[in-house]
Assembly symmetry: C2
Homo-oligomer: 292 residues x 2
């Protein structure tokens, strides 16, 4: 059996009991270390499992899937992924490959940011499509995310914005010279994300991301419990002026609040507000929420 | 500490290791048995935990939250919920109540249908808002879900449709007489869901749910692994004419496929098709997907 197992959001204890059993029964266990950031050291996972993990980077999962799947028709092989296995396209690729090789496959689900985002207090029902925001460079500022946020905003829906991660990137020089030397990982901060949003709003003038009239919620290490998880709500202007450490450690995600905002959502997220009175005032005055 | 713990989607082994530790440390463990269907017997959970569970129905979680939270400032108390704790509003209510009582709270996330729906092969990024479909009666056929599906469809997005569950419902007679006698639970079938969609399309004529030109995917017991999970894809007309047992046991969910359909999504879901050639033909001819 080929198992593809979601690790959940934070640390080694977020694996399910079913997932842990599958790992223990496997002769080879691969740990995919690229689609998202692993918030726990490989060694901690190995200690819990009593197994040595094989790191599988982007190259390997995409180009060596047959090696990962080797003998999985006669023995158990596991691929561990951060979050849920259906967060990234690559996992459907390897499942399709397993199918074509007639290898039985089982997916073991777990929490991912796509559902745990509910921790911010906004109802999952009211989210539209999810968007990704990539690091801008001087010459490359892809802004199609703006159209997606606008589509959601026009319908009053919330938007989950996933922030870019650069792992195993090569410098231009190393790339040109064919040297497999990698830069340290980079994670987009809330400050940079909000500032990129502002830059595109300035250019596009759609009126959907207004510094003092648009509410947003910054999230970090969702599911990490007290002391690790950090949720901060406020206007875009407020988020932009917070010190970076206010948002906790990466990974960060950002939620743009839509107009179909319910007073219970306002009340719940108020607990995370930079300034409670500003939060309530904008929710009431701009979003039209009836608050007590 | 008050723990609110997601049980995941299927059975007792879907709890996380972290969740299991919290249950074991708790002096009282409540099992919420209404917002979704529990697919595992209470006794199986109790055997895994080595604890007796207290059933918490709708009345109790809503009106007796102080009893559930009793002493949670000095000892550990757990509330177990199916899926993830942020699937239903009620859980934000009890967390707000815990906060107001200054009881420390920790949410332990898990998979829910809101992210595990990715198992059908459609990208989570391309889903719009989620809708709920309730049981129609002769006199009550609420159709606002249609506007929501249309909003998604107009943008080309997929829609997850959650099907109604009736648990602990009283007959009109028992209700009138104040007798706490409950009807057996009912779960909406795929056949009934598709037939209700057709009824409203007939009335509204929005052209978004066309029997032979709209693709959909029926899902049952997602995450249950081989033999339990069932996924069936096809046109609405095809799904309507399948025998009910083709869709497996409840709970069921339905996905309406949007126009932003990628050929990899078509290829993945083709494995679940009632008829592969119809599936590909509609994806190509109506949805405009470039297929090999």
């Amino acid at each position: 059996m080929f198992y593809i197992i979601g690790l959940g959001l934070c640390d080694e204890k977020d694996i399910t009991v079913r997932g842990l059993e599958a790992v223990k029964s496997s002769t080879r266990v691969y740990l995919e270390a690229y689609t998202s950031m692993l918030m726990v050291q490989k060694e901690k996972l190995e200690a819990l499992y009593g197994k040595t993990l094989i790191l599988a980077d982007r190259d390997m999962v995409e180009t060596e899937s047959d090696e990962i799947l080797r003998n999985a028709d006669t023995e158990d092989v596991s691929l561990l992924v951060v979050g849920d296995p259906f967060g990234a396209t690559t996992h459907t690729d390897i499942i399709l490959r397993a199918r074509s090789l007639k290898i039985p496959t089982q997916v073991i689900h777990n929490a991912s940011i796509m559902n745990a985002v509910g921790a911010c207090g906004l109802q999952l029902y009211n989210f539209g499509q999810t968007v990704s925001l990539v690091f801008f460079t001087e010459t490359w500022k892809p802004d199609s995310f703006y159209d997606r946020i606008k589509e959601n905003a026009d319908l009053g829906m919330h938007t989950l914005v996933l922030l870019d991660i650069k792992v195993k990137e090569q410098s231009e020089e190393n790339l040109a010279r064919g040297r497999k030397v990698y830069e340290p990982p980079r994670y987009m901060s809330i400050t940079q994300a909000v500032s990129q949003l502002a830059e595109i709003e300035e250019m596009r003038q759609g009126g959907i991301l207004r510094p003092n009239e648009s509410l947003a919620i910054a999230m970090s290490r969702v599911g990490g419990g007290e002391g690790r998880e950090r949720i901060v709500s406020g206007t875009l202007a407020e988020l932009l002026t917070q010190p970076e450490e206010a948002f906790g450690e990466p990974l960060h995600s950002l939620v743009i609040v839509g107009r179909r905002l319910h007073h219970l959502e306002v009340e719940y997220a108020e607990n995370f507000a930079v300034d409670r009175s500003t939060w309530r005032d904008v929710a009431h005055r701009i979003y039209g929420c009836a608050l007590e």
